[in-house]
Amino acid sequence: MNTKYLAVLSVLVIAAATIGGALLFMDQNDSDESYAIVVTDDAGKEIKLKEPLERVAA
């Protein structure tokens, strides 16, 4: 196989992997879509929950 072609392909694979990893990272950490509940409390604090509250102190 052409060495130049292999080098370009490797760069593309690495770039795709990097971008994909970054997107995956963003999805896990920053996107509200990964939380079931996103609300703002009376103190103005954003509360993000993956599942509804179950056991609380009041």
């Binding site: 079931a36 509940i37 609300v39 409390d41 009376d42 103190a43 604090k45 509360i47 929950l49 599942e51 509804p52 509250l53 179950e54 056991r55 609380v56 102190a57 009041a58």
Partner: protein
């Protein structure tokens, strides 16, 4: 903390989600509806380790009398969620609680039932008040509103929620007319006996409302009278006209404030058919409480 959050959690059918409370709430009547609670300590030093042992990661707390050691708890992975459950955010807080617990149909329906009861009552009072203003455009009674439990600043300014509710129905807080308090930045203020008597002589004070102490209406009225160390209140118009009304603290804030609207409307002589005691009974029946429906509002001086 205070009783408002546990009361609304019961209204929404969520009391089984509560594992424990702070020491102060456990001394209140509402604790009787929550058997077997873990005592997590005082609100200024809530016990995070005990919460982790009970697998509690969230605290629902108001601002006033709420959790004070939030940063220490946050370091343990315990989040404090501020939910006032009274005042101007109260109805939004009902929706906030529903969302936090997953917006299940049972909670959505209960929230609607509560809000219907609230709006039905409050709107009736406000409609009757609007009718009164149409028939008597000069109707603008002045009032003074005392918080009997406050030692330092016993009177509500116009920025306090209860004062705003009375003004929403009709009239104006006499503190609005006192130059020294403008703009009122605090919700409560101290006014001397002389200032009240002078205002009454010059402007005419029409009503005095008193938010009661736990000790009851008579003790609260006696406390109002005791604010005068110089002389007698006997010349004050609201006393001469028997226009001093105590409002039980249970209906002066929180879930049963809509009953407070009716009481204030009655004090103002609005043409209301709603019976405050019957409203409390209905609230009890709908949401599983057993609050007393007696002594919600009392008129002073009492007839001898």
């Amino acid at each position: 903390m205070n009783s408002n959050i546990p009361i609304f959690l019961q209204i929404l059918g969520l009391k089984d989600k509560v594992i424990g409370m702070d020491s102060l709430v456990l001394t209140k009547d509402i604790a009787g509806y929550y058997p077997g609670m873990i005592d997590f300590g005082k609100n200024d030093a809530m016990n995070g380790e005990k919460m982790l042992e009970a697998n509690v990661k969230y605290i629902l707390s108001p601002t006033s009398m709420g959790v004070k050691n939030t940063e220490a708890l946050e370091a343990l992975g315990i989040t404090t969620i501020t939910v006032e459950c009274f005042g101007e955010t109260m109805l939004n807080d009902v929706d906030l609680l529903v969302k936090l617990f997953g917006s299940k149909n049972e909670q959505v329906v209960a929230a609607e039932r509560y809000k219907n009861m609230y709006y039905e009552t409050v709107n009736t009072v406000l409609e009757k008040a609007a009718e009164k203003k149409v028939t008597d455009p000069s109707w603008d009674p002045s009032f003074l509103f005392q918080m009997a439990s406050s030692r330092s600043d016993p009177f509500y300014t116009e920025t306090a929620q209860l004062s705003m509710i009375v003004e929403q129905i009709g009239g104006h807080n006499m503190i609005r007319d006192l130059g020294g308090f403008k703009p009122a930045t605090k919700q409560t203020a101290r006014i001397s006996y002389d200032v009240i008597v002078d205002y009454d002589k010059n402007e005419g004070l029409d009503y005095v409302f008193i938010r009661t102490l736990d000790a009851g209406a008579e003790a609260s009225y006696a406390k109002f009278l005791s604010l005068s160390s110089l002389g007698s209140w006997n010349t004050l118009n609201p006393i001469l006209d028997r226009n001093v009304y105590t409002l039980d603290t249970r209906i002066a804030s929180g879930a049963m404030i809509f009953v407070g609207y009716v009481c204030i409307g009655e004090a103002y002589g609005l043409d209301l058919t709603e019976d405050p005691s019957a409203l409390v009974e209905r609230f009890n029946t709908e949401f599983g409480f057993n609050f007393s429906s007696e002594g919600l509002m009392q008129q002073f001086p009492a007839v001898e």
